[in-house]
Symmetry: C2
Subunit: 261 residues, 2 copies
């Protein structure tokens, strides 16, 4: 078995999230089928695993994943054709942008050192139609300076338990809810766009959407700014439930020692 | 009857072009229905006319159109609610961004002094999935300087007959095929994006797509640069048939005396 490491981008809208679903339709399902087809007859499924799961509607600009292909079947395919060949078996809303052989012991998820997520907010009375499904439409009056100041307080190492959702039955809770946000950047423009970037060593389930949703409520004047600090101090006892919608979220990059995917 | 002037943006993909179709599904159909609903019972259809038609798949950032509404029916609706009310009756891929009363004698099409079109090319081996349907994917090696130089030769007043398609049966040919291109600008970036902007006093049917398609063939080395000049000199006898696909084209703005829509 040969382990391939690849970078994949996708539009989150047409798919049922990253993780394989009964009945198919998830990004992982399309990738497993595409790699199996490359390997030819007799290979029914190639296991594909991503650095992290994204919910339905969440986009990826740089998800990283592994595909474990039968070495003999894959040897027939010249290396310069890997990219074109796999993309030929994928819908245009999923594109593999880079494929290499993984180094021994490398694992898409366990070797990851961090992730960069972006959240896009469209702050205007009307959502530009080409932004539909790609940004969160927030028509209200947003206090941008407060949004930026409050976002900055999230940077650093904290127990983010209050900014975590349950992944659902059958999923284990993480052993620790302490995470480090290396970088939080908020900027405005072009036009009514507000972009929040979060780079961290790891993220709890829905953490970016819960942080963004809560920050937005504060910036809209619907919640006192002190709440952010209280939620960070509260640990698991207090929880926020203001998750920003999936369509504004982008997995930009997965970070590994020595660079990206 | 009260004439409203409005600016409308749309994603070209879900619709059957601008112009009303038997069976509906065109942008004009959705707008006529939405304005009729605003007017309430007894108003079956409100005629809507645009500054120009866009083909299926072509996007608009700033189409301008008129709606002739029954004055009494419309008087009930406070002016500050016009925008929200009409958008409430439209799919999210169509958004009216501004509505005013038209000045006496104003006509969306006949009063227009010019248009600004943009064409987007994605020049990389792989089309980023979030650009699918929004840019022309041109994977070949493009001579950017040649593209820019050749595009510049199109600026000015020319007989663009060689860059015009037939609109189909039942449509009259234009009386003259002489048009003035006030501005042609080509730029590269961000990333593999190449953007062509065309501002002119008027455009023949498919002119922007035919100009872009022909320029692209020259920049890809598939056609000698001299062809552009020959096509401009040739008038109606010679024709180019390399139309760039609809999905890369955007109607950015319609120009009127004293400003945009």
């Amino acid at each position: 078995v040969l382990r391939l490491k690849f970078v994949v981008a996708y539009d989150g809208r047409p798919f049922r999230g990253w993780q394989s679903q009964a009945g198919g339709g998830a990004v992982q399902d399309f990738l497993e089928t595409a790699f199996a087809r490359l390997c030819g007859d007799g290979v029914e499924r190639v296991p594909v695993h991503g650095a992290g799961r994204t919910d339905a509607g969440v986009h990826a600009r740089g998800q990283v994943a592994q595909a474990d292909v039968p070495a003999e079947a894959f040897a027939r395919l010249p290396r310069e054709r890997w990219l074109t060949a796999v993309n030929a078996h994928l819908p245009p809303q999923i594109r593999v942008e880079k494929i290499t052989r993984a180094r021994a012991g490398w694992h898409a998820r366990f070797s990851a050192r961090g992730k960069w997520y972006r959240y896009r907010i469209w702050n205007a009375p009307t959502l530009q139609p080409l932004e539909f499904g790609r940004a969160w439409h927030l028509p209200g009056s947003l206090d941008f300076q407060l949004l930026r100041d409050m976002a900055a307080t999230l940077a650093g190492t904290h127990d983010f338990a209050a900014f975590a959702a349950n992944r659902g039955r059958g999923s284990k809770a993480p052993e620790t809810t302490v995470r480090t946000l290396h970088r939080v950047a908020v900027r405005r423009g072009p036009g009514p766009l507000v972009t929040l970037d979060f780079v961290g060593d790891g993220f709890l389930y829905r953490q970016v959407r819960l942080m963004t949703g809560t920050l937005a409520r504060v910036a809209l004047g619907k919640m006192p700014p002190e709440c952010i600090g209280e939620l960070l101090d509260a640990k698991s006892s207090l929880k926020t439930s203001f998750a920003a919608p999936a369509e504004g979220l982008y997995l930009m990059r997965v970070l590994y020692r020595g660079g990206t995917g």
